[in-house]
Symmetry: C3
């Protein structure tokens, strides 16, 4: 694969300092880039790597222009990381091999499903009755979209994704669990990406809703009747329990959890491994995980933790005693 | 979809106050229900929503009869939530579209597997040699049931479920791991529901066993030789390590974990995000996760936590010192 | 299935005390083994079970020879657990039913993929363009190996595994996320085992790398550009974020996590449910999870934990005060 430097700038904009005829043969991080590679500097704290880089050309912000020009060829762009994202897309299109069939013959698409003519349904996918797949959406291999679920436009569903399995709903009948049939579906907006083996359950009565621009990593569980707001991103292995409402522009770290029937405001960041146990009404950064220690220290501290409220009482008693002693 | 109110009561019992000719067109929660919808009040603390609801009819407990009748039509039933579960089942049967073939032609069922004539095997499922699928059991799409594994009657296995992959067993040979072939299988009882992409491993020597009535949510991992007792329910993303024995009528919260080779008594409830590290011999509610805080507070508290056992020693020293001071 | 005791020793070595003509009909743990079963004692602390066992023959270490002979037949081997692993393999081979076709007709293997003639591709697998599958490697059912990903020799990939889905990479464009195309692939060494529904993402620019002998349990997430060193083993539900480097001969407990862009030295053991938040440069055992308590105790201690840094300040104040009092 080869892309002329000049072609990149013609397509994506930015100001090029250097030879437009240079053939770019790879995209690479600063420290690994050779003279035929294009790299980028998105964070000024790595400027030392810039000086040392052997990259054929580097994408930099306007503030770094002089420094970058002193080193060699560069493209100046307002947001170098975003510019780099666009370059990866150009690269991907350029190296694209001929596409397979629109609906792979091994996929099982119900005649009662609606698949936009521009959508791609990969091998061994299942699209059930009443499901709708929007324009330019891609189902990679082995994706299930269950009855009546709706996927918007320009979405990507990675292998093993399950949309619209039954939500987890049962009523107690003595010791037995009686199934509550899950009569809702799943509605997914536009520009949503869903990682491998992630599951989004159908609603009990109403639908589970994933709004436009949401990005979900692999092995995530979204319970029934959850709503995930616009542009919210979740890292791998997150679990969201039923009927939780998550705002727009949130980030949820890997293996975090959200309990059911609560709300999270727009703009909330939840750290990895943290469990949201109450509604969060204000944007902000929330955390709750036990810090890592060497095991021997952990054993001592964790054992003491079990007496923490007693320690507080002892401290309170001491405070009182000392006060009285001083009288 | 329409169901006459009278038909519902004829099929499910309960005492109807109101017009049996009313056509129910939807099932809905109290606050969203319109005049053609049937709703329910299972928890008296929501009685204010009852008064305000526009539902055509509401299912209530005997204690709420007068209050409900003052509002409008109602069905009185001993356990309104269970009654509602039965209504969802009636609804689901009534709206059922014609079923597909008993064994979908895209499924790969080994001639040496036994599938009950009333079972349904969905698209792109795999049922291996020696596996047995009981009466009225449904494998949705893309389920694997491996060699010699047995699934009981009236079970539901959601898309992506893997029954009987090898348990995780290796012996150290210097630095290498030598595989211990997993010679057992998986036995699953009747009325078990297993969520999307959940995995239950085959036993090393004996079988992994899931008893009658167990309900497992999505993305759960059950290790080899585990036994899960009757009617126990687990929420999404739980991990159970090998050879753990979990009693009957337990609930395990989302993303919780159970270490291997331990026992949990009947009737234990484990909170979400909590790790069971020792046998629990008494029924009860057990918890162990770090509470959520705003990140700045967490940073201070988590840093202090690493000195907790030292703090205890300092407290002890102070107590001693004060005692001596007072002498 | 029957294996002569003499045949086992002829094939696997070890010193047999007892009748080589004994027909072994089962492998079983000491406490469950009957007179036709072969068992093993790997840990001397279970020697009491040895005396009580009804096993037809027991595999023991040299140090246990006399004790074992006093009981009955035994095989003496340097590492009884490893010897037992070899017996399970012998057993598995002996009971093997005739293999299916090399590439199951329901699998979708791109003509541009390279599959070694000795590899087995199970039902409903997907092997994309440019992928390579090494000698004697087995893809069980419903495995996806994406474009250009390379799997070594003698690997086992269990059902539902996804190799080479896109890494989770996006650049912010205002509130929107712009996709960074994932241009790398996944390279997996020899003798790697990968559990059911586990996902390993393709790299952004370079490849994600899993070295020889690595063993991954079920439902694990490995992010883009991660490197996992030789013979490292991870239990179920672990999440490893992008660009983490994990050394050789590590063990990572179930549901543990590793944040991105950090390094873990060779020989590190991470406990279950623990999150690695910084590089670990020394081998050792690291832990960080909240210990389990009965829920009422947890509520008191967890509430106090939120004031822990304040408690420390109060303690410090007391220490100072007492010192002054004593002057």
């Amino acid at each position: 694969m080869v892309l002329r430097l000049g072609t990149i700038v013609e397509q994506l904009g930015g100001e090029l300092f250097g030879n437009p005829e240079l053939d770019i043969q790879a995209l690479a991080p600063l420290e690994a880039a050779g003279p035929q590679a294009l790299s980028f500097l998105s964070n000024p704290k790595y400027r030392q790597q810039l000086a040392a880089s052997k990259a054929g050309c580097v994408i930099v912000a306007p503030a770094m222009r002089d420094e970058a020009r002193a080193r060699g060829a560069c493209i100046v762009a307002d947001n170098p990381y975003l510019y780099f994202a666009h370059v990866t897309q150009l690269w991907q299109r350029a190296r694209q091999r001929p596409a397979g069939p629109r609906i792979h013959p091994s996929a099982v698409v119900d005649p009662g499903a609606q698949v936009d003519p521009s959508a791609l349904i990969g091998p061994l996918c299942v699209v059930e009755r009443g499901a709708r797949i929007g324009a330019h959406t891609v189902l990679k291999s082995r994706v299930t979209v269950s009855e009546d679920c709706v996927i918007g436009e320009r979405c990507v569903l990675h292998p093993g994704v399950v949309i619209g399995a039954d939500g987890f709903g049962f009523a107690k009948d003595g010791e037995r669990w009686e199934k509550i049939e899950q009569l809702g579906a799943v509605r997914i907006g536009n520009d949503v990406e869903i990682g491998a083996n992630t599951c989004i359950d159908r609603g009990a009565l109403n639908d589970t809703v994933i709004e436009d621009g949401v990005k979900l990593d692999n092995l995530i569980q979204i319970g029934h009747n959850v709503r995930v707001g616009r542009n919210t991103a979740m890292a791998g292995c997150v679990g969201v329990a039923g009927s939780a409402t998550i705002g727009a522009n949130c980030t949820i770290g890997g293996s975090a959890g959200v309990l059911g029937h609560l709300s999270i405001a727009d703009g909330v960041n939840v750290s990895s491994f943290s469990l949201v146990t109450r509604s969060l009404n204000k944007p902000g950064h929330y955390t709750g995980f036990y810090p890592l220690e060497d095991n021997a220290s952990w054993e001592k501290n964790a054992a003491t933790l079990k007496q923490l409220s007693t320690l507080r009482e002892r401290l309170r008693a001491l405070e009182k005693e000392l006060k009285e002693t001083k009288k």
